[in-house]
């Protein structure tokens, strides 16, 4: 009994920490930055809010960009995932590996390599095809955003496909269905919830991205970039806040109806066998899908190869030479920063995945109503643009009781809570896969809450914990928007160094750093997967 009492207290403490953490580190910054938009020279004033509606171009530009990017990313994602699902096992492994690597997309790099490949003097557009094109504007941004988002999207959709019960496909085949019919009548309809969720994620990512439009937007300006510029060029925080506020409108408009679909992303196979007999890769639908998929897969491979290429080459007196100079020059930039980035990311990934799981546990298994709200609040960082979230931290934590601006803590806390939405979604999905009877059985046998968590929940959700860790680690290693305004000298992380060198025109060094970030992610994620899969 005494033990039970003690665990009960621990239980309450955990719940309180989760809830207060989310209130303080998500809600408080959010309302702080929201309030900022209503100030002018430190007095309540609606001028920035009013001025937003004078010029609706930016809003429409953002919307147009978001919709087009989402459409293209989904087309690519659907085709690639279906193609990989159907193609031979060896190819499957290969393409999954490519997707796994290209999912790690350090900021800005694709946009820059795009100019090298498709610009007026681009390798492909000019030297191969002898075209003279201006790569700037909406098309460029859409292409690059789609390219950097579709890997993740394909992997998520592939996960959804794997969960289609095998008997459905088997019985269709035994009834003589052709590949065309299987794709159109079984696979695509079953993907729909996953497609909606990916669409939501892509749309939100697209409209809050400021880096790609800054590099290849040309005349085309969007809200996210405008708000970033309001800070760095005009030093106008209220205006930045107001512009971001406008960005939240479309985000919320798609988020509210679709957020329920998000849970499909961490989908588990619920123990149902996937189909053993392969679907035959033929038919017009399949071939179209294959063509589109290969186009995108080859394109993304090419962009990544061009990153590697520019990491090892450099222009010298008019000709391109292979050299290790870029790497040599990068070394002074990365010594301390690398370790710091890894530590921050590991903390964010560990805390995030555990918090996500616990939130899922209290919501799904314990059915505590209150956690519905906590879960909703935890999703907020997805809807609001990274810079907005970062500026919120700046305003919320610049005075007592929690004065942490300029410390490492503010950066770490920011990245933990920034990627929490994904972790909670995966946590929820994991809990849905757990048979509640198993949990009840533990209780019937006299086990306490701690047995429930340690003996049932954790072992059964190891895969999702891993997924959530990897995702959080990767996104923290590649994040820039939410922390760019929080970092002080002495807390620099790799993405920021990369941002710096790219800003000062050292694209080759930027490529080396991008490569370095990709390698770190692969090594850490790989060893994490290795350890978890071998510890059982």
């Amino acid at each position: 009994m005494k033990h039970k009492k003690r665990y009960q207290i621990i239980d309450i403490i955990i719940m309180s920490i989760l809830a207060t953490g989310i209130v303080i580190f998500i809600m408080v910054p959010f309302f702080n930055i929201l309030a900022e938009a209503f100030y002018y020279e430190n007095k309540f004033d609606l001028r920035y809010i009013k001025s937003l509606f004078d010029n609706k171009t930016l809003l429409f530009n953002s919307l147009r960009l978001g919709i087009l990017t989402t459409a293209l990313t989904l087309t690519a994602g659907i085709c690639v995932s279906v193609y990989i699902f159907i193609c031979s096992e060896r190819l499957q492994k290969f393409w999954l590996m490519i997707l796994g690597i290209t999912m790690i997309s350090p900021p800005f790099v694709t946009a820059l390599s795009y100019i090298n490949l498709f610009g007026r003097r681009g390798l492909i557009s000019y030297r191969l095809l002898h075209l003279s094109v201006q790569p700037y504007g909406l098309t460029g941004i859409v292409l690059m955003q789609a390219l950097s988002d579709f890997s993740l999207c394909s992997l998520l959709l592939y996960g959804v496909l794997k969960s289609i019960p095998g008997y459905m496909i088997d019985s269709a085949k035994s009834l003589g269905a052709k590949t065309n019919d299987i794709i159109c009548d079984i696979i695509l309809p079953n993907m729909l919830p996953g497609i909606k969720a990916s669409a939501l994620l892509t749309f939100l990512r697209s409209i809050s991205d400021f880096g790609t439009p800054a590099i290849i937007g040309g005349k085309y300006n969007v809200l996210a970039l405008e708000s970033y510029l309001a800070v760095i060029a005009q030093g106008n925080l209220p205006r930045a806040a107001a512009v971001n506020l406008l960005l939240i409108l479309p985000a919320a408009a798609v988020f509210v109806p679709y957020h329920k679909n998000l849970k499909n992303l961490g989908i588990t196979s619920h123990g149902i066998e996937t189909s053993n007999s392969k679907i035959v890769g033929k038919g017009i639908v399949y071939n179209c899908i294959k063509a589109i998929a290969l186009f995108f897969l080859l394109w993304i491979s090419m962009q990544y190869i061009s990153i590697i290429f520019s990491a090892f080459t450099r222009m010298k007196k008019g000709s391109l030479v292979i050299t290790l100079e870029n790497i040599e020059e990068t070394l002074p930039y990365i010594n301390q920063t690398t370790l710091r980035s890894i530590i921050y990311s590991v903390i964010a990934a560990s805390c995030g995945s555990i918090m996500g799981l616990l939130i899922g546990y209290y919501m799904q298994i314990r059915k505590i109503k209150f956690f519905f709200w906590i879960d909703l609040a935890a999703t907020l960082p997805y809807v609001i643009p990274g810079t907005f979230f970062g500026l919120g931290y700046l305003l919320a934590f610049r005075q007592p009781p929690l004065m942490i601006t300029g410390t490492a803590a503010i950066v770490v806390l920011n990245v933990i809570f920034k990627q929490l939405p994904f972790s909670t979604k995966i946590g929820n999905a994991a809990m849905e896969g757990i048979n509640i009877e198993a949990v009840n059985a533990v209780r019937d046998l006299g086990g306490g809450r701690h047995n429930e968590i340690l003996d049932v929940i954790l072992p059964l959700s190891r895969r999702q914990l891993g997924l959530s860790f990897i995702n959080a680690f990767t996104s923290t290693m590649t994040t820039i928007g939410s922390i760019i305004f929080l970092i002080h000298p002495g807390h620099k992380v790799l993405t920021l160094v990369m941002f710096d060198v790219i800003q000062s025109g050292k694209y080759n060094i930027g490529s080396v750093l991008a490569l370095w970030i990709i390698i770190i992610c692969i090594v850490i994620n790989g060893s994490y997967m290795f350890i978890t899969s071998h510890s059982s």
Binding site: V23, N32, G119, I215, Q399
Partner: protein, 384 residues
């Protein structure tokens, strides 16, 4: 379960109070920004500056023969925000002389201003480099420590603030980077003057950065206004504007995109790195023959710096002849871009007599007005 709700309700209540407090704090601190708080700061800084200048004048009298030597600052850390990451060597040298570690972050001037304002505390100890307008604005906002380095004695007055809020580390000069092959393809001659750029034949071939983002390009606009005179200046800028496809959103855009062959002519800060890039990529650098716009690069100490002693030591160090030579090397500066007398830089061929006679006193104060008018002219370069 009930227990949980009791405890949680308690915590939430506390949280709410905390929230309310913090937002109240913001409100009250922001409302008092203009009056009480800043006055306090102002006063304390006044007193500092007074006894500083007192000391300084003494030191100046006694040690005017040479630059002040460095003192021992081992174990302390100096935090610096700089315009770029190229100054590592300079910071290492400072560490060698004083023992102080240097941690730096590169940041645009605008970001320095808005973050320091938002955070309500200094970004770092020292602010190293950036357009003078930002330093002038920061001084007006009371963000800078007033310090007159004994080593600044021989710096001409126009390159240092009369109250000691900032001192220039050199000047940036604007010119053209030309991609010859792009121009050749179109049968265009290499432009030699600003006047040339207004020719319609260059339409779509010129790139410059948005002057509200790039300090150099603000200096170009401001300089050309001083050169041509207000009215003619704006006429010129309108013509130039019609030849520009779009304004870069990053300071390095013109150099990068001209190098990549996206444009024929980029308006850039001319330094050795431009000449190097030109050599490696078969481009050419042009000092316009009619006029050279320029801007001093400021350095300053933030008010409320955690390590004031090291910050002052750094400014002293930065103004020594040796450090100035190192800066000239790192920045790739021509001798004409150095503000400290007697320091030799590189010989890039900068025609010193073409530097525009600029009114620096209005450099900061007229920024908003100039940019406002510019925005009006350039508005067609933003897609509707």
């Amino acid at each position: 379960m009930k227990n949980f709700f009791k405890v949680f309700a308690g915590i939430m209540f506390a949280g709410l109070v905390l929230c309310a407090c913090s937002s109240q704090n913001t409100a009250s601190s922001s409302s008092s920004d203009g009056s009480g708080a800043s006055k306090d700061v102002q006063q304390s800084s006044d007193s500092i500056s007074k006894d500083e200048s007192g000391k300084v004048s003494e030191k100046n009298d006694s040690g005017s023969s040479g630059d002040k030597a460095a003192k021992d600052l081992s174990g302390t850390t100096l935090k610096v925000v700089a315009t770029s990451d190229k100054y590592v060597k300079l910071f290492d040298e400072f560490k060698k002389q004083t023992g102080a570690d240097v941690e730096f972050l590169s940041m645009s001037s605008g970001e320095v201003l808005s973050r320091a304002k938002a955070e309500g505390k200094p970004m770092a100890d020292v602010w190293f480099g950036g357009g003078l307008d930002a330093f002038m604005a920061a001084k007006a906002d009371g963000m800078l420590e007033l310090y007159k380095s004994p080593n600044a004695g021989d710096i001409p007055d126009q390159y240092k603030d009369a109250d000691g809020a900032w001192v220039a580390k050199g000047i940036t000069v604007a010119g053209f980077l030309v991609n010859d092959s792009v121009l050749e393809e179109k049968g265009l001659a290499v432009p030699k003057t600003w006047k040339d750029l207004e020719d319609e034949k260059y339409k779509g071939e010129i790139i410059m950065s948005d002057p509200s983002i790039s300090g150099t390009n603000y200096a170009v606009i401001k300089g050309l206004l001083d050169f041509y005179g207000e009215e003619k200046g704006w006429e010129y800028i309108e013509k130039l504007n019609s030849n520009i496809a779009f304004y870069g959103k990053r300071g390095k855009d013109p150099q990068e995109k001209t190098t990549a062959g996206e444009f024929g002519i980029g308006i850039i800060p001319v330094d050795e790195s431009a000449f190097d890039a030109a050599e490696d990529n078969k481009l050419s650098v042009v000092y316009p023959e009619d006029a050279l716009p320029w801007v001093p690069e400021g350095t300053a100490i933030f008010k409320g710096s955690d390590n004031l002693e090291a910050a002052k030591a750094f400014i002293d160090f930065m103004l020594t002849k040796e450090a100035q030579e190192l800066i000239a090397e790192l920045d790739g500066k021509d001798t004409a871009q150095i503000v400290k007398p007697g320091v030799k830089g590189l010989s890039l061929g900068l025609p010193k007599d073409k530097l525009i006679k600029q009114d620096l006193s209005t450099f900061g104060s007229s920024r908003e007005k100039v940019l406002e008018k510019f925005k009006e002219i350039a508005k067609d370069k933003v897609e509707k």
